[in-house]
Symmetry: C2
Amino acid sequence: MSIRIGIMGYGNLGRGIECAVKNNPDMEIVAVFSRRNPDTVKILTEGAKVYSADEILNFKDEIDVLILCGGSATDLPAQTPEYAKYFTVVDSFDTHAKIPEHFAAVDAAAKEGGNVAVISCGWDPGMFSLNRLYSNAILPNGKDYTFWGKGVSQGHSDAIRRIDGVADAKQYTIPVEAALEAVRSGSNPELSVRDKHLRECFVVAEEGADKARIESEIKNMPNYFADYDTTVHFITKEELCRDHAGIPHGGFVIRTGKSGWNNENSHVIEYSLKLDSNPEFTAGVIAACARAAYRMKSEGAKGCKTMFDIPPAYLVAMSGEEMRAHLL
Amino acid sequence: MSIRIGIMGYGNLGRGIECAVKNNPDMEIVAVFSRRNPDTVKILTEGAKVYSADEILNFKDEIDVLILCGGSATDLPAQTPEYAKYFTVVDSFDTHAKIPEHFAAVDAAAKEGGNVAVISCGWDPGMFSLNRLYSNAILPNGKDYTFWGKGVSQGHSDAIRRIDGVADAKQYTIPVEAALEAVRSGSNPELSVRDKHLRECFVVAEEGADKARIESEIKNMPNYFADYDTTVHFITKEELCRDHAGIPHGGFVIRTGKSGWNNENSHVIEYSLKLDSNPEFTAGVIAACARAAYRMKSEGAKGCKTMFDIPPAYLVAMSGEEMRAHLL
């Protein structure tokens, strides 16, 4: 019997979950829930139906794991604790600074409902976090570096779009190659924000807009751009659609450290991702976490978990024997 | 109270464990056991003592985790099941093809003794295995590639030393850069043994030995060298000691795969290690696994485990709150 998946929220991530489930034969999508009028939401999966988010409690016995595909700013802080009372849930909450309070709220709700809730699944937080943890565990005398990109930052693209005279925009975060090389050399560099990443912006200006002013507003925007070396390219709407339609991302987690009685030996551990589609890859991680959540719930576990708490074996659709024979 | 560690077998790995424990303040070495005369074994840790391997059962109440530092060919197949009856144990058994039978023997013994035994800890098997597992879980539609090196292969060095006329030798396994690049491109190449790795040999010949014959014997040795492009350099004993004294190693685990409703998006996941000291890095992984074994045993777990079964959080000396705040 397959694991019956429900999807709450149907944007890029929800669509990514449908694609991920297609590649996981032990799972099936049974329903998609949306705040929009269900008749206007067209999904990919044959046999699954779209329902209003208000109807979800009717599905308590039809869904094994509910995947919450809302945003971290306002949706998930409310949704994950709410639905963890009734369902085994998985989310991709990614506001790093607020994870402790999100964890506490979700943990209380999941325990109240006797459910398992896995939060912050994806690649950062998620696979990058796991790599930081494993590297810290095995190389305690060392230093961590995380680089993001090359990839599209939704938050920075949105910030540009809010500038007067901007019709559309896409922003790429790009790791500085020289900084990566310095880290890999084991020299333990102290790197400023500017040393680590570049920001490259592709902007469609409205007709007659003052491009010099737009460029200056972007480059001087506090927090988002002022602390970085930022490049601005003005392009046409057609060029933006043709050359910048994708949502690629990726990055690097590197830990360098020492071993030996007198710290005489150096080591470099590097994990990197190069992703054509950020939401589809994130969805792949979430699908594996949904499998683990289902198994933990079946064993009687309760409360909030992160990928730190999941035995890796729970993520794959293989028996222990198969794993040990083929992956170990 | 710290986790009390015993070491069985004192070679490069045993010494590496001492170094690793020095970087893990929640652990201490209480005793080292050797088959040699204890008076002849000099260890690094002040306060710890060396005992004969025969005395080990006297230490059942003094040791929380016994780390088995013998070889995979003959030591561990006997030692791990034997000691798992009496101790929580960790080993680095690395004969991939024999892991299933080793697991079965250790599992029976550990269950009989009510202990936890973690086998095959290190980097391959170990961290590389984990990366294969995670990547398979999150990108099920893809292909795995593992490359080793650049690093010293003990087995291949030993094979050269057995050739008539060879005084000493060191062999480096080197991944072929073009093969790595082909894999990273996502082109899913089919790679032969020869395509993936080069073998470079540094050989000290005995005086008057026939170097042409030695070189030919190396290059034509079945399994070890015949299927590879192999280079042989004859050097002096002094050069070998000066330039090839270290035990570096490393490698790459890469998985490329597709996502999207029509497999339209590609992804590359890459994990790599660059290690100055293979045994010291392996010891770092083992120390983290010893911490996890201690915790699992404290919770009442029994039987044989691998790194696939260990919740990552059990490997680090941090509380859940600290981990979520600083690593997630």
